[in-house]
Symmetry: C2
Subunit: 83 residues, 2 copies
């Protein structure tokens, strides 16, 4: 078993309203920054043990499907690195 | 001017309690996953125009310091890519 960290990034699908990002963008503009667009995402770094990086990625994918992401409104991607 | 996307990742400093991550970890364990640790972070993807990647990174760094991160409890990092 090897120790891995799987990073799951969960973002809203295109077309889903993101009021948090809209508020953040406007706050940056009030501070004087020019911003063309802003998207927010959640990032989960999950430490887990697995036989291989592929197994770790598959397990993190399952975590995303079952809990971390809502497939109706979210896209996600998974990347794995040794710890 | 070139169009860039700056990605600002904001995470809690070591030692700062993260109840959201703790709850997520426990929920994954209830679903049968073995998890050694879990950290959550916020990710902002900021579209901006700048003279160079260095200028874009400097501007995103300022955004993090002034709004996106709270230096008392957060660490952050910035990466920049052409759009």
């Amino acid at each position: 078993m090897t120790a891995y960290t799987a990073t799951v990034t969960v973002r809203l699908k295109n077309g889903v309203l993101d009021p948090e990002a809209e508020t953040t963008k406007r706050a940056l503009e009030r501070l004087g920054f020019e911003v063309d667009g802003l998207r927010s995402a959640d990032r989960f770094e999950v430490d887990l043990d697995a036989e291989s990086a592929d197994v770790a990625a598959t397990r993190a994918d399952e975590m995303a499907q079952r809990l971390l992401a809502n497939p109706t409104i979210h896209d996600y991607d998974v990347s794995v690195a040794e710890r």
